[in-house]
Subunit: 418 residues, 2 copies
């Protein structure tokens, strides 16, 4: 058992106190704070960029991969985009006070189930400092206090951002300590944060599979798992093959590093002759490295052999596993066995096949004749996204503002007793 | 790390396979199975009663408390009531396939968020064997497979019930293994069950605070905490004192052993003179033992002194803590500090006070001029209840059938790519 350090316990207690003051604030105050936070980012961009430059210099000194250094790097434009994100969130509908269920009971009691804030969120995330601003903004909009735990590679940037955001929020009428960095740098400090029962209401990890696994194993507070995606495209016997090619290439290549990119292509045997040669050529033209089963390799001797590791891997790059299946049921069974429950797409003109695919799977999203890349809070019209849940409790798929709320029942009587 | 025994792993795998077959079954099949299960309980009551008699004999031999033995004991009437419960569940609306959100996106994609089963439930509960039947029935209705882990004191009863229910369900068209006892008897077996990631989708403990705490600490699968209730009645300065007395007595005495019974009474100082003498008399007349703060004790020298332990204790019996507060804000602060977030009641004729009480608290339910005892799935009109959640993720307050579902997004396009 990791005991929380006094400064972490103190941060948790202050966050809880802030949450109690935040919850009843009207929408106007929260939205004003978001706009003040956006303004402050612009006004204090110089200090933020100076802090970020220290992180970037340290990362380069450590020989960090250029792609990661790029994601870590802030510019005036990137800061302006983060500020605009806060203004966009301010303009979204209020997720609080929504009556999600209500009725008058036979005895006359009036039952109302209302959305209210979760309380204190703990966000645990990796390199990109824009998550700090996104998470703070969504927390404020939804009336939650937040403890932010970014990666140590972005620590100076995150400290500068939180300092700017927190001061602006307080000046605009939010309670002190609504937006805080979680103190501590070590693995044990994260574990202690995940065990702050009674102070942290929900922990939300955002990052790679290793981070998610660690959080789930260590946490004693409720957790929402996000963002691990081994997504599949299944080309049915009744597929339009032009559509199938366009969807496969889009799902794999449009942005290979994200969780809604496709990692495996399954092709019905009836269209393998017609589809596999052309899709293998198209994938090669995009620079995608293919791992195929025996039938796939019979169309192209240069394709590498797919192993079980390929079926379960989230490549997050220009690689794909390709297999031939004898039926839709076999495709469903493959996805159930190897998938991560994120997003699967079927390409078919057959209505019964599309229905069977939906009914047979157990994933957060199923696309019918559309790319897996559409599983996204922005694409779904949510206006904001805190992550994509791949668990089943509370939230599944893209999480917007409603997923950062819980509910309370308010029951009004006139002296009712049982 | 506790490794699961082969028989537990096998049960989990069979439950997962059953869940995949259960999910697409139409309502008719699930409801037919529930009615067949009800019939089978009646037809095989003799075998069930014989198994129960062994549990009862063992409990009596161990010197178990008579109240617990009573809760363990089955009779023809109690079996008939359990069977009726299954028929009632069959008659409830189908919680599956409900479109909870849907729209056509600007690009023409059709977005539908549908309710689907959670998958595999693990229920961990204490003495009463009727929970076995309730949980199996709600699982079948909601299309979930279930692993049942009752207390060892009811093991023969539970084995007999699950055997009867499972055979009847299979005969009526449900997959094998949809309803199973979780194998193993020890603490370590429960821990292993709670760590079956990838096989168990949700663990739901039902029982006392120690059980809940153990489950939350040990679990690596998502968990819903239920049923710990330190509920408060606050008598406001503007309360009707007859109403306040009726609600206090009902909340404390109607059924003191349950989680929605009141454990603390807070009285506004302005009405302490008028209310405390009469409520202390009324509580005494009901045999309720009172722990009071200094001001409360000034009205009755026989009242025991309340300590911090009293403010935080869920007595679950004829005991109550009583305190005087100087303001509604002080009442709210007391409840936030000591409460468990279950249910709090205010008695007041003042609309602003009722609104401030609701806005200030952070509990699953707030009663205005009504007894805390109304926080109940049956009273709320849900028709069934799997427990009362005191956590904030997924479900809060009484959990009915909708809380045993998750959702999936089905997105239909015409070759859409990004």
């Amino acid at each position: 058992m990791t005991e929380p350090k006094p400064e972490l316990l103190d941060a948790g207690r202050r966050a809880k106190a802030a949450a109690a003051l935040l919850a009843p604030l009207p929408r106007q105050t929260r939205d004003d704070a978001l706009r003040a936070m956006a303004d402050a980012l612009g006004e204090q961009s110089e200090a933020i960029l100076a802090a970020n430059a220290r992180d970037v210099q340290r990362a380069e000194g450590n020989g960090t991969d250029a792609g990661i250094v790029d994601r870590l790097t802030l510019t005036e434009d990137r800061i302006a985009a983060m500020a605009q994100g806060l203004r966009d969130v301010a303009a979204l509908p209020d997720p609080l006070g929504v009556v999600v269920r209500g009725s008058t009971l036979p005895n006359g009691l009036e039952l109302r189930q209302l959305t209210v804030p979760l309380g204190v969120l703990a966000m645990i995330y990796e390199a990109r400092p824009n998550v700090t601003v996104d998470a703070a903004g969504l927390a404020v909009k939804s009336g939650n206090a937040v403890l932010l735990r970014g990666s140590s590679s972005a620590r100076d940037s995150n400290a500068a951002l939180v300092s700017v955001l927190s001061q602006a929020a307080t000046k605009a009428g939010l309670p002190d300590d609504a937006i805080q960095l979680a103190p501590g740098e070590s693995h044990d400090d994260v574990t202690a944060l995940l065990r702050l029962r009674g102070l942290v209401d929900v922990a939300i990890p955002r990052g790679g599979a290793a981070l998610i696994q660690r959080v789930v194993t260590d946490a004693q507070v409720p957790t929402i798992e996000t963002g691990v995606g081994n997504c599949h495209v299944y080309v049915d016997a009744a597929a339009d093959l032009d559509m199938a090619e366009a969807i496969t290439i889009n799902a794999k290549c449009h942005r290979p590093s994200v969780c809604n990119a496709a990692e495996t292509l399954l092709v019905h045997a009836d269209v393998a002759d017609a589809f596999l040669p052309r899709i293998l050529r198209a994938l090669a033209a995009q620079g995608v490295s293919v791992h195929g089963d025996a039938r796939t390799r019979s169309y192209d001797g240069t394709v590498q052999e797919a192993t079980d590791v390929d079926w379960e891997t989230e490549y997050l790059g220009l690689e794909i596993a390709v297999g031939v299946v004898d039926s839709l049921d076999d495709a469903v069974a493959h996805i159930r066995r190897w998938g991560s429950g994120h997003t699967e797409a079927i390409v078919t003109a057959d209505l019964a096949a599309s229905r069977a695919f939906v009914a047979g799977l157990d994933s957060a999203a199923v696309m019918i004749n559309a790319s897996t890349r559409f599983t996204d809070g922005g694409e779904f019209g949510f206006g904001a996204e805190i992550g994509i849940s791949t668990q089943k409790l509370h939230a599944r798929g893209p999480m917007g503002l409603p997923e950062l709320t819980t509910t309370t029942y308010v029951v009004t009587g006139a002296g009712h007793v049982r």
